[in-house]
């Protein structure tokens, strides 16, 4: 067992994540049962996913396709020859007391996830397996319950396990890694990646070592992580716990620890149940997967533009900041909406401002999303155009956006109905300007004395007199003319 020597401040954390993602196929991995969340217990089952005598698995081609596409999106090498293996252990949520998984020939190897900092976290592999059922214990644990109920609806749901190299060095990086994985998976549509429904699950392997050391420290596996935030908190807690161990001169024990959300601590889950020899061997019920190059290249062409590529393009072509590009691309549907607004308005910067600003604000207030809102990109673009061509002021547009997004109204109709159109008639604007200059002689004097602020005050006065309808650019021009 390796030792961590030295003061805690000299240690660094080494983290690897094992992420399980349920694939969003119509049917289960090895049978025709529907793959769905939330159905009444044991209603989505058949002889195959219940592991009844004589039943046989048949691999779901769509699950293989989804996993390969996920692998392609993450830059993995796709194996042209792969196979399924049996992982043998007894547990009542597993109908056959073995799990069909992949051992030494996973569907993909390599690949990486790029964090916002630009750091690349390499992947070891992604493999395909079947999910287990769900145990509901009458007591606190399986060993201390009078009975356990099992729901096999989830048994046989296709699951991909994404294993990272131990290259993550902080809780924050772990959360960023998960966020990026989630974005990629939702982009390519292979999973709904809902951590609270269990369609994305994460175990963290954490160790610490003297800063700069090459050898890995003793690792602890943390389970029962139910949100991105709990992944971060558990890792932070565990790093501190390990540092404390080292400070106290205690040895770190290789073990599995469970995260307790309530107390914010981890506790040892080590038990005989977890000391397994899984006795992997190739599943003789399934034939090896041999994916032809033609099929793989077809799948590759079907991949959508991925978040990282989108971000680069937004910065390069639209002149957006890295941050804005990140926000706009975190969900594919949001990015699609933004791009439609940008294209229809011809004004990507304004489109970005609207999407991240007032559109978001009115949707949040109404507890709606872009998908549930009635306003479509063309309407938002029309509103941007009304501002750009001087029909309405930016301020008036903010009054219009709510009706557009929530009620789905046409911006021009709302503008007409509420009389929000700007006055660009030179004579009318000049009249307001002259009226304001006359009424605010003090400010005129201040401005002339060099107080720049007085200019903005005068603009405000003109707008007030016009009840917001004067074209503000015209107002500024005239004021400068008169005062200059």
């Amino acid at each position: 067992m390796s030792k961590v020597i030295g003061a805690p401040a000299d240690t660094e954390a080494v983290i690897g994540l094992e992420v399980h993602v349920e694939l969003l196929t119509a049917s289960k991995m090895f049978c025709g049962c529907r793959n769905a969340f939330g159905a009444p217990p044991n209603t989505l089952v058949c002889p195959v996913c219940l592991g009844m005598p004589g039943s046989l698995p048949v691999a779901n081609a769509k699950a293989v396709e989804y996993l390969c596409k996920a692998g392609m999106a993450l830059g993995c090498t796709i194996a042209e020859y792969s196979k399924f293996d049996r992982k043998n252990y007894f547990y009542p949520d597993m109908p056959k007391n073995y799990q069909i998984s992949q051992y030494d020939m996973p569907l993909t190897t390599g690949g990486s996830v790029t964090l916002p900092s630009g750091k690349r976290v390499n992947l070891t592999r992604i493999h395909l397996e079947e999910d287990t059922g769900k145990n509901v214990h009458a007591g606190e644990s399986i060993a201390r319950s009078a009975y356990t109920l099992v729901d096999y609806n989830r048994a046989g749901v296709p699951l991909m396990e994404i294993v990272s190299e131990p290259e993550i060095s902080s809780a924050r990086e772990a959360e960023e890694y998960l966020a990026e994985l989630k974005a990629v998976m939702s982009y390519i549509g292979v999973s709904d990646v809902k951590m609270h429904e269990g369609s994305l699950r994460c175990d963290a392997n954490v160790s610490i070592r003297p800063a700069g050391a090459r050898e890995l420290g003793t690792k602890v596996e943390i389970k029962n992580l139910n949100s991105f935030r709990s992944v971060g908190r558990a890792i932070e807690y565990e790093i501190e716990r390990m540092r404390a161990c080292v400070r106290e001169g205690e040895r770190i024990v290789q073990e599995t620890r469970g995260w307790d959300e309530g107390s914010g601590t981890t506790h040892s889950m080590r038990s005989k149940e977890l000391a397994h020899d899984y006795r992997y061997f190739p599943d003789p019920d399934l034939v090896p997967l041999e994916l032809g190059r033609a099929l793989l290249s077809r799948w590759r062409t079907e991949l959508p533009e991925l978040p990282a590529a989108k971000r680069t393009r937004y910065v390069r072509d639209f002149g957006l900041s890295e941050y804005d590009a990140g926000v706009l691309t975190s969900e594919r549907s949001d990015a699609d909406f933004f791009e439609a607004v940008a294209a229809a308005s011809g004004n990507p910067k304004q489109a970005a401002n609207w999407m991240m600003g007032d559109v978001r604000k009115v949707l949040d207030r109404a507890e709606m999303t872009l998908a549930s809102a009635r306003g479509r990109p063309e309407q938002v673009a029309a509103l941007i155009t009304l501002v750009a061509n001087g029909t309405i002021s930016g301020k008036a547009a903010k009054e219009v956006i709510e009706s557009v997004m929530i009620d789905g109204r046409q911006p021009a109709d709302v503008v007409a109905e509420r009389g929000l159109a700007q006055t660009s008639d030179a004579g009318a604007v000049a009249a307001f300007v002259d009226q304001a200059l006359h009424a605010n002689a003090d400010s005129v004097a201040s401005y002339k004395a060099g107080k720049e602020k007085a200019f903005e005050f005068l603009v405000g006065q003109v707008m007030k007199l016009s009840r917001g309808k004067a074209n503000v650019e015209m107002v500024r021009g005239l004021l400068k003319e008169r005062l200059g």
Binding site: M52, P53, G54, R86, N88, F90, R279, D285
Partner: protein, 492 residues
């Protein structure tokens, strides 16, 4: 005329001389009359059979086309799941298991008009060569009720041997169809691995298990295999290879056929003068039919048993893990769920099954996997190559099916290795996945002995052709009558 074969029954039904109900009643009466002495069945299903026979008669009356097995009574080994009918695999652990589905082969038999009359006895989970490992009873050999019928498909062999039914289904993993067929004087066919769907057949060793017919004559095996063979979308290992009309490939001579004689096997059988003489005569009969005999070699066959007893138990140890009392079958409660698993399995499995689970678990264990399981798979590949090379020199192989005639009940039940040796001549074909069959070849000590014929993968038609010519020329199956006999419509 006689009505001892399926094709005779079907023809009689087609001519309107007999109904499916009558044929079924005859079979049920034959079973009732012989069962006390034979103990071939774990369950007879007269009501289901007669109801089905009425449907067949009604369909015929409506003018529907007759299926390949229309009105033919068929027994199936209790390893095949039958919807609504208890399926035990010969084990206490499944004593009360009623599957909600039927095996694909059962559905295909019924789709061709076959009438399933009952579920036959077998060694528990098909592990055994004598039927004595059944958790319920020991089946007797119709030729000598002191002797075993062979196994594991012993019940199917015995009921066909006694002419209760013309056709029964068995399964063969290392010889479980061919050895009992030899012992009971019937035809028994292990098809190419992948020829027949395994869906709904309680698994023993998935990479070896194949279902096949056990029949009075070769023609019935040809028809029954045609009925059950073919790709099944429910079994990824079933082959998408067309199924020919095998009956059209039956021959009456062997002109132009090269028959391979395996030199290693001849050395093994030579010390037993009676067995040696029987097989020598069989090869001469083949030559007399026009075949050319050529020597071939299967150099890796001597590793067959060792290879088989790593691969089959390894797969079995995993396949049988599901019997834990949680979902179906026997449950023995314990203080917690893991105790329940332990108690259920301790009470539910017999000694031979436990032996093989332990063997298999050991062979797959970390640190031993490469030395045992991986090595065994490599030998298996070499064995396939042996057959490829042999079939470059011959069209079919003829060799012993067994090393001895049937033995007495209890004679080998305390000596697992002696029992394992019973499969010496049948295991290499199972490991190579090639089709093989046993066809009656005469008698030693007044007990039947079978000749094994082997063909390249998916060449069952060629194998049937040779077997038919040999059977029609020698007529060993009709030369004598077993002591428990229900043939010619007579209840024994």
């Amino acid at each position: 005329m006689t009505m001892n074969t399926g094709h005779e029954i079907r023809e009689a039904i087609a001519r309107g001389e007999v109904s499916a109900v009558e044929a079924t009643e005859t079979a049920l009466a034959a079973i009732a009359a012989t069962e006390r002495r034979l103990q071939a069945y774990l369950q007879v299903t007269p009501e289901r059979a007669l109801a089905r026979a009425k449907e067949i008669d009604a369909a015929i009356a409506r003018g529907q086309d007759l299926g390949l097995l229309a009105g033919v009574p068929v027994a199936v080994k209790d390893l095949f799941c039958t919807q609504g009918v208890r399926t035990t695999a010969g084990s206490k652990i499944l004593e009360n298991f009623v599957p909600p589905y039927s095996a694909t082969v059962v559905r295909r038999l019924e789709a061709q008009g076959a009438i399933i009359v009952g579920k036959t006895n077998m060694d528990e989970f098909a592990m055994g060569s004598s039927c004595e490992n059944s958790a319920f009873k020991a089946t007797r050999n119709p030729w000598s009720t002191e002797d075993v019928p062979g196994g594991s498909s012993g019940g199917s062999a015995a009921t066909v041997g006694a002419r209760c039914v013309p056709i029964a289904l068995g399964t063969d993993t290392g010889g479980s169809i061919r050895e009992p067929a030899s012992f009971c004087g019937v035809v028994g066919v292990k098809p190419t691995y992948g020829r027949v769907s395994r869906y709904g057949i309680v698994a023993f060793a998935s990479s070896l298990d194949q279902a096949g017919p056990m029949t009075v004559d070769v023609r019935d095996s040809a028809d029954a295999l045609e009925a059950i063979a073919g790709f099944d979308p429910m079994d990824s290992t079933s082959a998408n290879v067309d199924v020919p009309h095998y009956a059209a490939q039956l021959r009456n001579d062997l002109k132009g056929i090269r028959v391979g004689i395996v030199s290693e096997f001849e050395e093994s059988i030579a010390p037993d003068a009676a067995m040696h003489a029987l097989y020598k005569r069989a090869y001469e009969d083949l030559r007399a039919l026009g075949a050319e005999l050529v020597d071939v070699s299967l150099p890796h066959s001597k590793y067959g048993l060792a290879t088989y007893y790593l691969i089959a138990p390894a797969e079995a140890s995993s396949n049988l893990a599901r019997y834990d009392g949680a979902r179906y079958g026997l449950r023995v409660d314990g203080p917690d769920v893991f105790s329940m698993f332990d108690e259920t399995r301790a009470a539910g499995f017999g000694p031979e099954v436990k032996r093989r689970i332990i063997l298999g678990t050991y062979a797959l264990s970390s640190g031993y996997y490469d030395a045992y399981y991986v090595r065994a798979q490599k030998v298996r590949t070499l064995m396939k190559k042996d057959f490829d090379e042999a079939f470059a020199r011959c069209d079919v192989i003829a060799c012993p099916a067994v090393s001895c005639p049937p033995f007495q009940l209890g004679a080998k039940s305390q000596d697992p290795v002696a029992m394992y040796l019973m499969d010496f001549f049948t295991i290499p074909m199972s490991l190579a996945g090639v089709p093989a069959m046993s066809v009656p070849a005469g008698y030693v000590d007044d007990l039947p002995v079978g000749l094994q014929l082997v063909a390249p993968a998916f060449e069952e038609g060629r194998m049937f052709g040779v077997a038919h010519a040999y059977e029609q020329a020698t007529r060993h199956a009709w030369a004598r009558t077993p002591i428990v006999y229900a043939g010619d419509g007579h209840a024994a």
